[in-house]
Symmetry: C2
Subunit: 404 residues, 2 copies
């Protein structure tokens, strides 16, 4: 029954104490020291000394006691909260046609945003770095500050991203494969950059501000050009060992099935992605070409049987994919997240009925399926939230080891 006990150094211990205290302060919005001690189990004396250090570092600030019940009972207590002005943080979503940027303070309050159109979807590395810098400069200017005022930048991209190394195995935004984009961006940006797969950042945004707020175990699914998935387990994004997990769009739903843009056959994406629908539509309908999924959807609504058949199969395949997610994760909810338009042709009561039919049958309620309609700026906000977490973790580490 041997199992390695994880040894942790005194520095690790101090780091985890500080992180825990900051998490509680962030979670509570504002909270008295004694309540921090209760919430963390750290002794009041230690809470006092650590919060003194966090105050000195400017990460938190004191809030004047409220003129409320507390006061009237004659024991006003100074509360602590995260200091918004501590850091300015940027979040970006790089998609094919636009870079969406949001700048927030350290609390997560939005200071500025901007959507910068892109002419090309796929770029060489230096060009993408330049475009990202341009998007940041624009947005900072709108907010009345400069790029040098930023403390951290979170960036979400489609593709296979190893978040831990800020390394891109493959992204549709980049011409090259295997790019150390973190290093390339470090050359043109003045502060730390944190890269992640965009669907993971959607899941993070849902967890922090969206439909996943009250929920520590859920799955976010996005449909844009492809199908993305973000997995939240016990409040954490699950990324896999190489950062290549959660590739729902490329799970196979048919042996030797339809050709996918990834070059393989039978991927879920090859049945429900935009390109898959348009490919089928334009082969089926001869000269009469459908230029968008919206047009195809409209044709189906107007009784076009071929369009109807194409969308029906896509919906059934999507229901099958959702059922597989339930059969594997048994999550408390599934959030279909993104611009409403991307789901309209797939989402219906029929989808849920079909999914239900393909889930292992137990006499317990199915996970909720929620459609959460939002635009790219929400994804960018997820990227900012990720950067806030990472900047916090780095600062805490510095403080913990400085205190050694």
């Amino acid at each position: 029954m041997a199992r390695s006990g994880r040894l942790s150094s005194p520095g690790d211990q101090r780091e985890s104490g500080r992180q825990q205290i900051l998490d509680v302060i962030r979670g509570a919005e504002s909270i008295a020291r004694i309540d921090i001690a209760k919430a963390t189990g750290v002794s009041p004396a230690t809470v006092t000394s650590i919060t003194a250090e966090l105050l000195a570092a400017g990460l938190i600030e004191e809030v004047a006691p409220e003129t409320s019940a507390e006061m009237r009972r004659g024991r006003p207590r100074v509360a602590l909260r995260i200091r918004g002005a501590a850091h300015r943080i940027a979040g970006l979503k790089v998609s094919h046609h636009v870079i969406s940027t949001v700048i927030t303070d350290f609390v997560g309050q939005e200071l500025a945003n901007h959507e910068m159109p892109l002419i090309k979807g796929s770029m060489p590395v230096p060009e993408l770095c330049a475009q990202i810098r341009r998007a940041l400069e624009f947005t900072c200017k709108k907010g009345g500050f400069t790029i040098d005022d930023l403390s951290g930048i979170g960036i979400g991209m489609a593709g296979m991203v190893d978040a831990q190394r800020s390394f891109i195995y493959w992204s549709s935004s980049l011409e090259a494969r295997n790019v150390d984009l973190g290093a390339a961006l470090a050359e043109v940006l003045p502060c730390p950059v944190f890269l992640d797969n965009d669907a993971n950042l959607v899941a993070k945004a849902e967890h922090l501000f969206g439909e996943g707020r009250t929920c520590d175990n859920f799955i976010a699914i996005t449909i844009e050009h492809g199908v993305g998935m973000g997995i939240v387990i016990d409040g954490q994004i699950y990324r896999g060992i190489r950062g290549c997990g959660a590739e729902l769009g490329h799970t196979k739903v048919q042996l030797e099935g339809a050709l996918c843009q990834c070059g393989q056959r039978g991927c879920l994406e090859a049945y429900v992605g935009d390109y898959a629908l348009l490919r089928e539509a334009n082969i089926s309908s001869g000269n009469e070409r459908h230029s968008s999924v919206a047009a195809l959807f409209q044709a189906a609504e107007h009784g076009d049987t071929m369009a109807r058949s194409i969308l029906d199969r896509a919906r059934r395949m999507f229901a099958l994919g959702l059922a597989n997610v339930v059969n594997i994760f048994d999550p408390s909810k599934i959030i279909l997240a993104g611009a409403r338009l991307s789901f309209d042709h797939l989402y219906s009561d029929q989808l849920i009925a079909e999914m239900r039919q393909w889930v292992v049958q137990v006499d317990a309620p199915l996970p909720e399926v929620i459609v959460h309609d939002w635009g790219d700026l929400m994804w960018a906000k997820g990227a900012a939230a990720y950067a806030i977490e990472e900047v916090t973790a780095r600062t805490v580490k510095e403080l913990a080891y400085a205190a050694a």
Copy 2:
């Protein structure tokens, strides 16, 4: 950015401290108090007082200092270890044809084992309870003690099990659905019973004694009558919200595909399970009936093209299922666990080559796929390990709240 900080009571804190210290002792086999303090970050004084309490409760014992380097350097230190005699724990695997039982001490050392054949696979609840009690009595007798000497019993069964409630939504071992088997067993057994899905217990056994020993993120896959999966994330079994996750065998690999024993169509199991192969074999070959997968495998080896075709498709579908697991979890390894016979017809270099072809392509090594050949007693040992953990957790909770 509001996010609820989890409040924990002083009792919870004491509980987690005791659990952490016991985990470190169990992990280290034997360890001095000062090293426990280093490993946990708990102060030496608190370690001394908690270990005194664990000693008094009989959960741990002192080990005489070794006559080794320590001694010669003139500072012999008394080490602590888990006290094997503290508890006798049983683990059972209930399958269709046999109940496999193992009894271990509190360290996990095997004291006795027994395999009791079953005449019926599916039973009414009282009959299954009686058979489980019989299997336990037999095994205890072999070990020279009685069922009343047991402190906890872990039981693994195929099906949909809510481990937290010891509740069976459905199992092929039970005629009824939705059975509170924990309550039924409590009527006939003298100590706490902990139920789980058998594939979860295989994953636990792999983590504690098998191929998952050095690994905190892996997937165990079993093939018997059906296809099972145990998911280990950060060293913990992932069960899903209702306890209905990890149902790989019922993920759909084809829309409206082959009929599964669950009543749905297109499940992976309906292509690779024993019954699926024999169904196809006996339709294809007319009068010449194949009575087992082993016979079918032999026919294929001897050049029977129909048998070859059936097994080829099963292998390809299994490779597709494994590729889907990699695409979703990106685990550090996949362990195909169980009696070798169950995999022989599926496992080959070709399987790995096909899986590789269906995994999202990144320039990073694929997870290892390991075949771990073992019998039902290893599953039973996983069940015992689960019971050891649960008995430990209960005892710790009692101690923590008694110390309040």
